[in-house]
Symmetry: C2
Subunit: 143 residues, 2 copies
DNA sequence: CGCAAATGAGTTGCGCACAACCCAATTGCG
DNA sequence: CGCAATTGGGTTGTGCGCAACTCATTTGCG
């Protein structure tokens, strides 16, 4: 019997591709003082300013153990504020500051990083994104 | 102007898909006492026992800062041995122990995790893997 | 040969991911 | 109302990823 080979694995292809694209962003993001997950969090806020931490986590598939310190670092950078909800003291709403909102103007440069980096035509790009989304949104396997 | 939306981003789709598949493996890997990157390293060794650390890193696109401690943990688990090369004292060859070699028999269960988890037909699986590999193997952008 | 440059591996530090906790605020059932 | 269960957020600990560094070995050029 032949052992399964690394390069046959879908999981490794996705893992390597994800890291490769993150690397493509890194230079520009570092200039902005951001990490890649911080950038993703800001994208959610540019769309939906004032979401709660748990809503942010739902959007990014990240739990409080990851997001709590991440948002705190964005706060230290002066990009967001935390405001605890008045109707439910447990909830924390994350609001962009003017600085954080202004940073969305730099996004064009970031998109260009990927366009420059990848060698896919428009159809392939769309197909890859659609298939990856399918995998990303799978329900947890009912064990 | 419309800000770029998170769900339009290829990078986020790949990032989320990769984490989703890793999660699919997690339960079974945890039973085996392995992490996902440790499992990938073992796959390389099942194919190419005795590779050096840098060859292993080339295969997985990981540097010594990640691999050195990872392989040390595999060694502590008794799955691999390190032997420094006789013709070049700098090189460290990583060899499977019998225990480490035997673990490849469990792989079938792991592959089944993905098959169970994902909802892609054979054509989609192959297409996604091929496109992801294309992205993974991109040359560094010449800045 | 002698020595500077390159190479392979390791360490340190930081920021994710994620499991396993904790605690306070809220909900809802009796 | 009273209290147990739930919920939202936070902390701690482990293991990546990766940059930046160190160090010993080896290479190669004069």
């Amino acid at each position: 019997m032949s052992t399964a080979r690394l390069d046959d694995q879908l999981c490794f292809a996705l893992y390597a591709a994800s890291r490769r694209l993150t690397t493509a962003y890194r230079t520009t993001l570092t200039e902005l003082g951001l990490t890649y997950p911080q950038y993703l969090a800001l994208m959610v806020l540019w769309e939906s300013d004032g979401v709660t931490l748990s809503e942010l986590g739902e959007r990014l598939s990240l739990d409080s153990g990851t997001l709590s310190p991440l948002v705190k670092r964005l706060q230290v950078q002066g990009l967001v504020e935390r405001r605890s909800s008045t109707e439910d003291e447990r909830r924390v709403h994350v609001h962009l500051t003017d600085t954080g909102r202004a940073m969305s103007a730099e996004v064009g440069r970031l998109q260009q990083c990927v366009v420059d980096a990848i060698d896919l035509d428009a159809d392939e790009f769309v197909a890859l994104r659609a298939l990856a989304r399918r995998v990303a949104h799978l329900e947890p396997t009912p064990s």
